[in-house]
Symmetry: C2
Subunit: 219 residues, 2 copies
DNA sequence: GAGAGATTTAATCGACTGATTAAACCGTAT
DNA sequence: ATACGGTTTAATCAGTCGATTAAATCTCTC
């Protein structure tokens, strides 16, 4: 049972939950100590008592969401042995991230951090584990292969996170999700063929007329 | 000379300029009629007199920036005849977009539009020309080629815009731009090889050792 | 049952917000 | 000179913001 003594834990819980919900549905500009507290059914002064301010509470909400999503991603991605399977697995969890609004938490805070250096530092801290995670996963799946020389896992990790953030914004402009799905479809069609990128460049067929510059073999 | 009678045009101009600047440096949450007016050196009531509110002014600022950037993109991209050249050209203008903050205007407004349906509708309207532009450019450059069957211009346009938005957020987390540059470098290395994606898939060699599989000829 | 201590509440502060208004301003056409 | 009309100004409105505070509440310990 919850005694009064540790009732603070439950209050913190409700505030974190409400903070995430408010940030997702109202955006950073519509998120205040009062709106969060109201959504949590709690006195607004408790935001400051328990978290010291609005931004720290929002970061706590991001942390909770981030940990949960990271667990989901790790689990889903663990079974992928090829790039193809990896993209397929990632897409599934991606979708859940978007629907659940986790990426919105992140990108709203990134947007808000433009004018708040101390907030930005915290956000950067929280982005790095995701970059590392993607990099390590890629290292496991394509590491050592010729593909990894053309697509260094670290760089692809940057690309994946960039995409991760972009898809979220794009989704806001794509109410029925058809465009987002087209995007996922494209990735699914390309991934199995990625290996082809490492082949030697074939001689270019005549583009219009005259002898085209001979394509040299790689390196 | 500016008569008093048409002095409104100059005021609108200064407000639009100041609105863009404020949104870029302070984010949507830090952008108000007063902060914009102060930056423009103008009375804050004029925001409402000339534009009817803060959001319409911000949209006007987005429109101005968008038109200017669209002109730059059209011009830069016009000379590109291959995917490789296209990516190279796009990257150059991309960089200018990021440095100049144009994408920030866009993504801040997308973020803010979560809780403002009428704002969102306006933003969507303004995203479509960009998608069309990318699609048409791709159609021109790779249309008809085998690559266009694997990478339909419309879908790639979605991907490019997604990337466009994502890079902006990513850049906020990448103060020294090294990661963003790594991203551009990756694109530049992959684009010239994209054609390889249309080759027939070679037989997979046994997963551990062996000589490289014989590459099949195109088509 | 008294006291300790964590938690919660309502009230309050100054600063800011979007928006409106009446009055003042000023070039221009009559 | 006068009056018109687009423009600008300062004042003002009610509402919200982050943050603080003293007092009240409640559980647990002694």
């Amino acid at each position: 049972m919850t005694t009064r003594r540790d009732s603070g834990a439950e209050t913190r819980d409700r505030l974190i939950e409400a903070a995430a919900e408010t940030l997702k549905t109202q955006g950073y500009a519509g998120t205040s100590a009062r709106t969060i507290a109201k959504a949590a059914g709690v006195n607004s002064a408790l935001v400051f008592y328990h978290f010291g301010g609005v931004d720290p509470l929002l970061l706590a909400a991001l942390d909770r969401s981030s940990e949960e999503r990271m667990r989901a991603h790790r689990k889903t991605v663990a079974g992928a042995a090829t790039l193809e399977e990896l993209v397929e697995a990632a897409t599934r969890v991606y979708r859940a991230d978007i629907e659940g609004g986790h990426i919105t938490l992140f990108s709203e805070l990134v947007g808000a951090s433009i004018a708040r250096p101390e907030l930005r530092a915290e956000i950067v801290k929280r982005a790095d584990p995701w970059i590392d995670f993607v990099e390590q996963t890629l290292e496991r799946v394509i590491g050592g292969s010729p593909l990894a020389r053309l697509l260094p896992p670290r760089d692809v990790a940057y690309a994946a996170i960039t995409f991760y953030l972009g898809v979220n914004l794009f989704t806001h402009l794509d109410a029925d999700r058809t465009r987002t799905e087209a995007l996922f479809g494209l990735a699914a069609r390309v991934a199995p063929r990625a290996r082809l990128l490492t082949l030697r460049m074939p001689r270019r067929r005549r583009p219009a007329a005259g002898a085209p510059a001979a394509d040299e073999p790689p390196e």
